[in-house]
Symmetry: D2
Subunit: 477 residues, 4 copies
């Protein structure tokens, strides 16, 4: 309530009560003022009442909510269903304008404000994840998931080097990254990793060879990956960025869920400092626990972001951004830092628990120190698999995955080395899923991702143990 109306309340309720209420209202206004001035995560997360009050105030700034508004255009923010209106807090204009996805909308000052504010909040969260400010001079939050955001980034970069049709892709067996190259009508050149102990690492020599083989002029750039499932480890992005600098290639980093890991942030910092990085892309859902649908593209070079932003044709949904605004205000600095810390601390615990289990079942945990998010467990077939199932032993290994899933453990991945070929986007892969042609073991890989709880780890270990014992029993029966 504004001060005039608060004053008017004194005609209805006791003056002294209104005075205290005014003080409280001022606290809320102060909260908002600090946000608008400092433009970073609030120290303490906001409660839901404050967030909703703020969003309603913002909604009043959009023309479709103007009390006396009448619309005679084709896009007037009309919302048919009350349920839909409510779930968008009456914000219906989406983001951007035909000229630029980053542009403000005259009819939607409120939506534009949120969009702008979000960039600051995200910047702050990224800084807290260990990224240096020079690493991301500019960023854009898009209502596109990682794959499509990478495609749009490549499309944009391609404008400056239209004749270059190839993109070097250090192999990672995740379809949408590969496909994002194809979507942009570019041609992926997959370069297999190399084995170092249990770890799968970037084969820098092979990449250098490939560049000279194809010719740098014909290559748009490299699409590298930081966050990945063990035993693959993050790409050597520093060295790759130096290669890119040397050969004047673009460098896009798929940092899908890398914001949750300070070590990856440091790698990216270094890559930007020592070599060339055009853009790095991260998922909003995988890092900030919002529903799927958004990504952040950032760059040490603000021109790149500007070009992407201008290259986006027309408006877009504002829904993923709204999720992120709410979530970041709700987390606050404290909440975000706690989440980062807690994930970091749970990883050794997860590895230790898994190691004990491995010992019990004559397996071992793969040693992949450079992967700070996930970890693998060997699956030497017998006696873990259910021998009563009527299928080849290989297939039996894969069944562990679905057995776990039907026991309500989602997210673990079972990779079996069966030496089969698979064609993805017109490219043949051997042992697709294992990131390399010949990995020595079948294994199961799990992530210690942001938001995981200690109880979940314990329950997972318990269920996996039980499953192994059951399979074993069936096998020996």
């Amino acid at each position: 309530m504004n001060s005039k109306n608060l004053e008017l309340c004194k005609g209805l309720i006791k003056s002294s009560y209104v005075d205290l209420a005014t003080q409280a209202t001022n606290q809320f206004n102060k909260l908002l003022e600090i946000l608008l001035i400092q433009r970073r995560l609030p120290d303490e997360g906001w409660d839901d009442l404050s967030i909703e009050t703020f969003l309603h105030q913002v909604a009043l700034m959009d023309s479709n909510n103007f009390i006396e508004n009448i619309g005679v255009g084709e896009r007037e923010g009309r919302v048919y269903s009350g349920l839909v209106e409510k779930r968008h807090f009456s914000l219906s204009h989406g983001i951007g304008r035909s000229g630029d996805i980053n542009e403000q909308q005259p009819k939607a000052a409120g939506s534009s404000l949120l969009q702008k504010l979000l960039k600051y909040l995200v910047s702050d969260a990224m800084r807290l994840s260990g990224l240096e400010t020079t690493t991301f001079s500019s960023l854009l939050v898009l209502p596109l998931a990682t794959g499509m955001t990478i495609a749009l980034t490549l499309l944009t970069l391609s404008k400056k080097k239209p004749q270059a049709r190839y993109v070097i892709f250090p192999r990672i067996d995740q379809k949408s990254c590969l496909k994002s190259i194809c979507t942009a009508n570019l041609i992926p050149v997959v370069v297999d990793g190399r084995l170092d102990g249990d770890s799968i690492k970037t084969d820098l020599e092979a990449i250098r060879l490939k560049i000279t083989e194809i010719g740098a002029d014909n290559i748009l750039g490299i699409l590298s990956t930081t966050s990945c499932f063990a035993p693959r480890v993050p790409d050597s992005v520093v060295e790759l960025s130096q290669l890119c600098k040397e050969f004047q290639l673009c460098h896009v980093i798929n940092n899908a869920y890398g914001l949750q890991c300070t070590k990856i942030s440091h790698l990216i910092n270094q890559a930007c400092r020592l070599g060339r990085v055009d853009a790095f892309v991260q998922s909003t859902d995988k890092n900030f626990q919002v529903p799927v649908g958004g990504a952040i593209v950032a760059s040490p070079n603000s021109d790149v972001i500007d070009q992407i932003s201008k290259n986006y044709p027309g408006r877009a949904s504002g829904s993923p951004q709204l999720d992120l605004v709410i979530t970041l205000l709700s987390m606050g600095k404290k909440g975000w830092v706690n989440l980062l810390e807690s994930r970091k601390q749970l990883l050794p615990y997860f590895i230790e628990s898994l190691s004990k289990l491995a010992l019990k079942h004559n397996q071992r945990v793969l040693i992949t120190k450079d992967n700070k998010i996930s970890v693998g467990l060997t699956l030497a077939s017998a006696p873990l698999v259910d021998a009563t199932v009527n299928s080849s032993s290989a297939t039996k290994i894969t069944m562990i995955g679905s057995q776990l899933y039907s026991r309500q453990c989602s997210g673990s991945r079972v990779v079996e080395i069966n030496n089969q070929k698979k064609n993805i986007s017109s490219i043949d892969f051997l042992n697709y899923g294992s990131h390399i042609d010949h990995y020595p073991f079948s294994y199961l890989t799990v992530a210690c991702a942001i938001g995981i709880q200690k109880e979940e780890i314990d329950l997972f270990i318990e269920r996996l143990d039980k499953l192994f014992l059951e399979n074993n029993k069936k096998s020996t029966d």
Copy 2:
């Protein structure tokens, strides 16, 4: 957003956009200002966004929502469940203080404001229903339904005349009114109505006789009823109020759903002018389409309301009041007047439709002109009832009610005259449900209550017709 924060937005989005948003925010503030100054129904109903924004602003005024609040008492407005908090818009202190249900709470300026404002809104709605301001110098909205509100009113009135144990009760066969007398530890004296054509009217002579028989000193007063199901018509409240004045008796009017009918309001006006009315009580759900749980007690004598208010021990739920605030803001003057008008206009249509149906099935509509809300239809047993049902013909008539209900027609009441006795609150009634010992016909009665739609009337007639035809068919098969 306050003007300072709006100004700060200019650091984030274009100044001219903020200016327009400011203008829009001012529109909302103006809306609220008008409400706080005029304290009557807004001309146009508010949209949900405005209502929620208002409620959130109000919630910020309650101490449990103060951002820095800590509580070291036993009642600090803590709410465990987010679902519960949300459904109360973070308002948790209820209403009233130990001393007075109408008193403001120092810890809950927001809740107190709503409570106070509600009284004005309700006053305005009551005026628009035809009640004169002198008819209700004061009113109280209680989180009690009609029955309990009447009990509390009688308890309070009883304090001034503690030796008087009797309450004259012109018979209406609705249990909770009768019981409200007993709850107050008073003794109901039921006086049967009299038949005038099809109508059941107040038997004023019998009441006068009863008063002299018992002795006015022993009688607390009369509890009369305005809104009732045809063929009973509203009590002659004017004459009853004159009787009360003559004998110095209290007069409480049960006006449960009478606010929807201007004619009843006029009767009450006259009763207050010409005789004695201590209080009249109306349901919030039956008049304003909110969930069950509230009532309004009003009086031409503000002392009475004051005593009731002071007689209520401790706090009470603020939930029914919140429903009413939201509803009245949402209706606005226009919505409320339209509802009143539309109901009025549908009654003749309902009667006409029912008459056509009656003709077709050899029945007739009861003529009860003084009842402007409901209407009866005779149910001469055969051929309407289902003869195949194995029960007495009387019971078969009652079955029509449940047949209708299981055909998704709720609210119609079937009254069969079977000359059976029923004991309610230790009193024997003959033909309970018919409001009089010997009504000449069994009948079905339906209401044209506020909120009814023309489509509902048509569908009801259609389903009733179909039911009669089916029963008829079974009977003649």
Copy 3:
């Protein structure tokens, strides 16, 4: 989704996905099945999605939500505002019927189900608080706060002993309990407590004298209190119940926030076993962290509850019950037990922290071992009070309360002994607020109530310390 519809989904999505979804749906159904069979708090609290799904399923059982329903009565559960409908999960019929507040409504099977289920859940929660099943053969959750519930209980008990006009009231300075006697048109007989060390205890001798003085036939019974602010301690309810048995008096216990304290539960168990307890009443908001507006009346004698239930005239709001259903499902057994435990463990911490503060400011904590909820701190005027304030030193002490409140500490109570008289409900009290005529010190009292957090205690101590220092500074300046 029912199994038929899940099967139909296989026409749209993969059969194996539907199978797993069916398994998950069954988990939810199983949850509900367990609830309906076991009728006690779920071991683990339900998440909001499960609660909402359950409530929507329940809402579909009420006639106003029947898809083809048309209403032709005066109370058809119509809800005007979507906001209101939503906040009640489309439940609009309230609870009870004219005959009995505990009766099921034919039009509202869903609401009736919730009401019935709630009784079981509350029973379970009460058992977990330490009450024995024989202590509460029956209970009723009413949409009335404690004061009005006590009034209704006394009104009901009064029916069996109509000539008895007096209620013995061991003094507690809380207006609404006292008033609840008056509301029932009964006369309170206040008996002062006695001092035992710092504690104010029940003066059993004085009560016995008072009973013989007035005559047991003229006395309806005793209204005792268990939960109260230190230095008053719980009444000697065991001995009082024995007195009631001896003199055939009713005994109603105001157990407002006693459910949070096992020790009080044990007292009540014993009182029921060894003497006479007709009913004990507890607040829903103070024990279960819901908004104000409900109370539970329970009795070792189910007839009493039955009579109260039948004595309530008409329907009532179902809103406070809905809050409680949601909250108890959300807490589960684990949540509720944790809350009880955590409160218990924080009390010694609170006392210790307060003692340290006391020492620093030359005060002391009052020793009131029998009060397991709150604790007092002496306030020897100087140097704690702000000497610059222009008022008597007594008033200055009271100012500490408002100083704390304006520093966002709610709930602490400052009691100053100024030997002034106050008239409450026509009775003169000396030093009202202190529960006894002459308490030796002014003091501040705070509660370690359910839901309190360690952080709140720390912050309170910090702010209180700061306040004392500031006042001290002003005094010495």
Copy 4:
């Protein structure tokens, strides 16, 4: 509630009440059954309770909501904020899989079901708009607005004809369509329209010339537009489709808000029958009154849709689709048809009202019979413009637009013919905004878009009239 649990309810509430509730629950299940079997818009729209109940049932099918689920992956549908979870009805997995945006997700059966169902509902709505089933053998609802959807479509089509770099673009001055060509790294070839009376029509001859000039092999295809602001009329899509067939060019139709106009649907039907249409794209917000962020791409050739679907890399937001599911269930067939009808009927009324106003101010309404959505009004400068404003008369005309907007009329567009050049996406346009180099008049154009109310038209005319009078007054003062 499933039948087992309903049966269990009989242990708690009366059997007969449960029976009726079961019947009601069955009604809901039947509703859902009909939806799953018929897979088209329900005849009557669903109420919000039914929609929410359905969505909660669907949410239970997604793994992140499985009651016992634990997640050890990097994307487990975790949602941090309760506000965010609630607004997505606990659906958090988005849509699609890395391989195909249209693929079902094993972890998200519920989300997948909605996605699949939506396609059927949208198909039905499109049929009701006049599109024949052969016109759209297949369709895809994407969480991308129109511009980006067209870009993705062009990118996909481009794969089959990689050497063709040009796209013929019959000029329409709406930036995002033009840009969508550039985003796909293709080169737009703008062909000016031709004037026919007041209408701007497709210049078929110029297009044919341009094709032969550039060479069909170098041209990917034509991007035509149906829905546009008068005085431009829909492109001659039938003739253009015949050209495309003749020259083996792709043909994409931008049908942004064309679904609201049966006549446009008929044109598209004919174009598909007589010539070549590869895809036509429509906005969800402009046709169905949902927030910005979705589009439907449809094709007579299901292969095209399949390729687009497979070309989308990775997952995407499910939020725009959720909005559409809710909205279409809420509208039902009846609601959607009424909206279409009502819009159609209001257009002549709007034109008539505007004509009267025109007459009064010495202007005229432009005659553009083929545009069935919007209409233009000439703006011969004086005396309509505010002569006191210190600017050229041309600029003064544009000011009418902002004057209207600040009078809360959004959506009208003012086009002034000032013969200035503007560079958009590296192309020079004369009089950008007017769709043609030399239109004879400046004008204002307004749309009679779906969802418009008669009251809005009246208010717009009133405000426009007032504005003209005010400007006139200022000019003559």
